[in-house]
Amino acid sequence: MTYVVTENCIKCKHTDCVSVCPVDCFYEGENMLVINPEECIDCGVCEPECPVEAIKPDSEPDIETWLALNTELAGIWPVITEQKEPPTDAAAWKDAENKLTLLSREPAKV
């Protein structure tokens, strides 16, 4: 089992999750984070930290797409180990729906 980051994170990217993960398994894209399912130890501490409830256990229904996406993007994005400021327009995107089309597959600029 693992936890995965889902749609709500896109264009929010609060990174509260990063500061609590004991094994540093979050990876950063241009406008979203993902979890590396290979490294996640299932401790669940990040789930309640996310202000937009983007993090879910992979036991949730219809999570397969997100699991595949987390696995794939964790392989090409850089690791993020420290919390940073969210994008200035994060609040505006908080309740937006169907954000998947807005996902950038580009890695974060570090």
């Binding site: 089992m1 609590v20 004991p22 094994v23 540093d24 130890i41 299932d42 401790c43 669940g44 501490v45």
Partner: protein, 334 residues
């Protein structure tokens, strides 16, 4: 049985894992699930025995045989099991309270007898399950619910105790140091005889950050030294420090000036005596960097080896028991 089933056995059980979010136990469980399938021992030939405490919930979460035993007695239960079923691979999962308070003598005697069991001691320096009282490994001054003024006494040091008990395999690792922990667990499994592994485990709720010096990526390289057989003890973020053996004991030196790598202590896990291993175990934060890795790995006949020729056949055992039970008075009270 499904003949097409994956040939790599899955050691994860279907039980819901119940530790606090963020607990270091999750990291150890994740490693065990990775390591066990690589050992060539089938789940049905693997047994995990535990005592009482947060760590002792371990057997539920692995699809092996298991026993959630009584407090501190896991080594005794495991000894009996290994004695009667030498074909099984037997693990003991215990904590600082279970192994060093309640069951301390069981631990010592299992190690001195070299019972072929693998003992994992999750050291979080606190009683977690009972909500945060000091444990025998709590550091002096730790304020807990049972020590509002701070703990008064010196802690026990698991590695020093294991070495003093003449354990044939003694190692230490850190819960979230996945690669290191995986390797130490593999080495423990491969050892013939008692393997003792202390794992620094963060209790996220009642003693958070107890091992920050060994876990925090920003500082850990200056506070831990990863030891390896035949290698000098070098450490530091820039690998510019080392441990040299002075007449007064191990000392930290900076490399590049008066001392260089050839002056350093070279680790020998096969040494005949455990004197140097004890010195390495005695290196403690914050005065010294703490060692992680295998401190000692030597061969000695196991408990089963020593007992094999002495096992009475069942018949003569019956006679012996009968003699004992029907032996009459041993002494006469005047």
């Amino acid at each position: 049985m499904n003949a097409t089933a994956n040939t790599v056995p899955n050691f994860a059980s279907d039980q819901e894992v119940r530790w606090c979010p963020g607990c270091g136990d999750f990291a150890i469980l994740a490693q065990m699930k990775k390591v066990l399938p690589t050992l060539g021992v089938k789940p049905e030939n693997t047994v995990v025995v535990s005592g009482i405490g947060c760590s002792s919930r371990f057997p539920y979460y692995l699809e092996t045989y298991g026993m959630h035993g009584i407090h501190g007695r896991a080594p005794a239960i495991a000894t009996g099991l290994k004695r009667t079923r030498p074909d099984l691979q037997v693990w003991v999962v215990t904590g600082d309270g279970d192994a060093l308070s309640i069951g301390c003598t069981h631990l010592l005697h299992a190690l001195r007898r070299n019972v072929d069991i693998k003992i994992l001691l999750f050291n979080n320096r606190i009683y977690g399950l009972t909500k945060g009282q000091f444990s025998p490994t709590s550091l002096p001054g730790l304020v807990t619910s049972s020590t509002p003024m701070g703990t008064a006494h010196e802690p026990l040091h698991p590695l020093s105790i294991a070495l003093a008990s003449n354990a044939t395999f003694v190692a230490r690792s850190v819960d979230t140091n996945a690669k290191h922990l995986g390797e130490v667990l593999r080495r423990a499994a491969a050892h013939r005889g008692s393997a003792f592994v202390e794992i620094y485990q963060n209790c996220h709720i009642f003693n958070d950050g107890a091992f920050d010096f060994a876990k925090n990526p920003a500082i850990r390289d200056d506070h831990i030294v990863a030891i390896a057989h035949g290698e000098p003890l070098v450490f530091g973020k820039n690998r510019d420090k080392g441990i040299r053996l002075d007449v007064a004991g191990p000392e930290v030196v900076t490399l590049g000036g008066e001392y260089n790598e050839p002056d350093l202590l070279v680790h020998d896990e096969k040494a005949d005596t455990n004197t140097i291993a004890q010195m390495i175990a005695g290196m403690r934060h914050p005065l010294m960097p703490e060692a992680i890795g295998v401190l000692r790995d030597v061969d000695r006949p196991t408990h089963n080896d020593l007992m094999r020729d002495k096992t009475p056949d069942p018949k003569s055992r019956e006679t012996a028991v009968n003699r004992l039970l029907h032996g009459g008075e041993t002494w006469t009270v005047a």
